[in-house]
């Protein structure tokens, strides 16, 4: 990979965002790339908006992706996709689950969930929850989306799968590999 690749991963605390960025980081390193990943720990994980930054490439210094500089936004939830859209380059790709998880202000009836579609031209919107459930667990949404991302990156399938194997608990491996393959061909 000659130029830097910037990836933003967003979702709701508890959706496995940290694990996804960890797999991507592991994979990039395994592919011989320089990589930096910025995570969020602590209070915001409690059901709040969570964002991680993954930067791959020789000239990467900052662990953060600047707004307007992301090649990919990987979103596990629709509102979070809308929130993260401003990170994308003009020709960047938005990959998002269409699932809607209501935030507390909406649950309380204080505001409406924005039922609008992302504006990004290059967008892959899919029901990743359905594919994850078909693979055996609703919790595998993150790996389904990782599968979709794999279609846009020229890394061999077996490298993706060995990165997943290295990072997920052994007992969930089979479900996660199924989820990844479902995303990769969805």
């Amino acid at each position: 990979m000659m130029k830097n690749t910037n990836i933003i991963i967003v979702g709701v605390g508890g959706q496995g965002i940290l694990l996804t960025s960890k797999i991507l980081g592991y994979l990039a390193l395994d592919m011989g790339e320089n990589v930096k990943v910025s995570e969020v720990h602590g209070m915001s994980q409690r059901g709040g908006s969570v964002i991680t930054h993954v930067r791959i490439g020789r000239d990467v210094h900052s662990p953060l992706v600047d707004p307007g500089e992301a090649d990919f936004v990987l979103s596990f939830e629709k509102l979070e996709a809308l929130r993260a859209e401003y990170f994308l380059k003009k020709d960047g790709v938005l990959i998002s689950n269409t699932q809607e998880i209501l935030p507390m202000p909406v649950i309380m009836g204080n505001t409406q969930y924005p039922h609008i579609d992302p504006k990004q031209e290059k967008a892959v919107l899919l029901d990743a929850l359905k594919l994850a459930e078909d693979a055996g667990s609703a919790r595998a949404v993150n790996i389904v989306l990782l599968g979709v991302l794999s279609r846009f990156m020229d890394w061999p399938r077996e490298k993706w799968e060995s990165a997943i194997e290295a990072c997920v608990p052994a007992k969930t491996l089979e479900i996660n590999l199924k989820a990844f393959r479902a995303g990769a061909k969805a």
């Binding site: 709701v12 605390g13 960025s21 960890k22 980081g25 592991y26 390193l29 395994d30 320089n34 990589v35 930096k36 990943v37 910025s38 995570e39 969020v40 720990h41 602590g42 209070m43 915001s44 994980q45 409690r46 059901g47 709040g48 908006s49 210094h61 900052s62 662990p63 953060l64 600047d66 707004p67 307007g68 500089e69 509102l79 979070e80 809308l82 929130r83 859209e85 401003y86 990170f87 209501l102 935030p103 507390m104 202000p105 909406v106 649950i107 309380m108 009836g109 204080n110 505001t111 409406q112 969930y113 924005p114 609703a138």
Partner: protein, 571 residues
């Protein structure tokens, strides 16, 4: 093959490679994982202390008798540890002593944005500041060399973006560092006035030597590029500067206290304009200005928040403004489904209490929909504040007020103010949210959890016996017995003595029992259950529905439904 590590893991690896034997810390975001990773190495004796002061005293004891030791904490933890630290700077060390202090610019998970570099200056403790995970490992090892060579504790200062960012790390082997001999030396370690006066002179001399040596320390380095702009920076900010101003000359400070004065003078003379780019306080900027060098930076960056490449480009580069986030409904963090704090705060709200709050997951109860916290100051402050309020407004005020804090927070700093309340003849009520774990920082064991850092059985502090011994009246109740708990809370707030109500129920994330989710039939949409603020309950025009993917079947909503419309879940 290199390994991808968060900064905190790399610090732990550095401690391991440096031959550290004792690690003692109190958890605090963003520092927590250092000690957790340390515990994975059986060569290091690791423990969660009740607070940062005890942690540093334990490490200092180990260091005085010849071992390399480490204590890790967040920036505000440094305040708690300041008492032993400021004097340990006088005594110096035997085995190396390093304090890893993690600052939190932008307050991702903190109550203030204080800058450990300021504490370094007031305590005269030299400070190293890495800029990526590899440097986290390397500087940790170097910190032990400096500590022993200069006979001083050393700060390793991190920030959130460094502590929680992964980058590739090349690891090495653990050094064989034997215990140093221990010889009695009261002139060095007994800090009574006559001896401390002599040691203070040693501190001054040491600092002068370090300042001189800093000029040739390889971790301070000059990168000459275009000479129009020279930037002085350190830590993760260096990475932002390289990204945003690739042509600028840079003086990267690896030791951020004391500063390499001659190196700075030389650098300033070579560039047309000198700026400091730093987060938080204008620490470098003031130091450099004190050298009589013209410099600026803080006028543009301000004191608050984090920097980024985009922000630096805007302030010091081409001025281009980055795209902004769209205005959308926020998604603030919430208490987890099944969280026991929800019931505790529901009961307090029903009684209309003034709530002196504290630091933990339960601080979220200050937000909608619970909206029930009058104050949050620092670890353990709730207990003393409730006492102070009674002194100001009388016992009647205490009948409608509580101090609320978690088990770990109580052990950290809530015990002494409880002693004070009893001694002061107060009638305050303290609610200990005893969820059997240190929750918000990610489930660390504590003295009352019955397990050590490895998860093995450990002696368990008996909270009720402790509070009774202090002289408080103690009641224990599961807050999910909502009626009984509310009654107890009412009795104890109205009582004329110091009470402790222990709301005991494990953290919902620890409760591995799989319970049937609750369900609703014939909802009359009265909204009563919505007041508990559970993310699994969703209000629709046709009534409230339960999100089965989120519901853990705790049964709290069933207890508050006036029409018996909710079934299932825990009885």
């Amino acid at each position: 093959m290199k390994k991808l590590m968060i900064g905190n893991e790399a610090v732990a690896r550095g401690a391991y490679e440096a031959g550290v034997r004792v690690v003692c810390s109190y958890p605090g975001t963003p520092s927590t994982e250092i000690t957790e990773f340390c515990a994975k190495y059986p060569e290091m004796n690791c423990q969660w202390a009740p607070n940062e002061k005890v942690a540093v005293e334990t490490s200092f004891g180990a260091c005085m008798v010849g071992a390399r030791a480490l204590s890790c904490m967040k920036h505000v933890g440094v305040n708690v540890a300041a008492d032993p630290l400021f004097t340990a700077a006088y005594t110096g060390v035997n085995g190396g002593l390093v304090i890893a202090a993690a600052d939190d610019p932008f307050m991702h998970s903190s109550q203030n944005e204080q800058d450990t570099r300021m504490i370094a200056r007031s305590s005269h403790i030299p400070t190293l500041e890495p800029a990526d995970s590899q440097e986290c490992l390397d500087y940790t090892k170097l910190a032990y060399e400096i500590s022993e060579q200069y006979d001083t504790p050393v700060f390793l200062r991190l920030t959130t973006r460094l502590a929680h960012s992964r980058s590739p790390v090349e690891t090495g082997e653990r050094a064989d560092v034997p215990l140093k001999d221990y010889e009695k030396n009261p002139g060095k370690y007994v800090m009574m006035p006559g001896m401390a006066r002599k040691r203070h002179l040693v501190v001054e001399k040491r600092e002068k030597k370090l300042t001189k040596d800093a000029d040739s320390l390889p971790i301070n380095r000059v990168e000459m590029r275009d000479t129009k702009l020279g930037v002085v920076c350190g830590g993760v900010v260096y990475q932002y500067v390289r990204e945003a101003l690739p042509d600028a000359s840079v003086l990267k400070l690896g030791m951020t206290y004391p500063l390499p004065e001659n190196m700075i003078r030389d650098f300033a003379a070579k560039v047309e304009k000198l700026v400091v780019i730093e987060e938080l306080e204008p620490v470098f900027e003031r130091d450099i200005r004190n050298l009589g060098i013209e410099v600026s930076g803080k006028d543009k960056t301000g004191l608050q928040g984090e920097l980024s490449a985009a922000k630096i480009r805007q302030l010091f580069g081409d001025g281009a403004e980055a795209p902004q986030e769209a205005a959308l409904p926020g998604r603030p963090p919430v208490l987890c489904p099944g969280c026991p704090h929800r019931a505790t705060f529901f009961a307090m709200k029903k009684l209309g209490l003034t709530v002196f709050g504290d630091i933990g997951c339960y601080t979220l109860c200050a937000l909608p929909p619970i909206n029930l916290m009058d104050s949050t100051l620092c670890m353990g402050a709730s207990v003393g504040m409730a006492h102070g309020a009674e002194k100001a407004r009388g016992k009647e005020f205490s009948k409608k007020a509580v101090a609320v804090l978690g088990d770990s927070t109580f052990i950290h700093s809530g015990i002494t103010p409880l002693v004070d309340a009893v001694y002061g003849g107060a009638s305050t009520t303290t609610v200990i949210l005893d969820n059997r774990i240190t929750g918000m920082t990610g489930h660390q064991q504590n003295a009352a959890s019955g397990k050590n850092i490895l998860g093995d059985p450990a002696p368990q502090l008996n909270l009720e016996a402790l509070c009774e011994a202090i002289g408080a009246t103690v009641r224990v109740c599961d807050p999910h017995n909502l009626k009984e708990f509310t009654q107890i809370l009412k009795e104890e707030t109205e009582a004329d003595h110091v009470s402790v109500v222990i709301a005991r129920r494990p953290c919902a994330l620890l409760d591995k029992r799989r319970k049937e989710p609750s369900h609703i039939e014939n909802c009359r949409n009265c909204g009563a259950c919505m007041k508990i603020g559970c993310p699994a309950l969703i209000k629709t025009d046709k009534g409230v529905v339960i999100d089965h993917t989120l519901c853990v079947g705790c049964g709290l909503c069933k207890q508050v439904c006036p029409f018996g419309a909710i079934q299932g879940g825990e009885e």
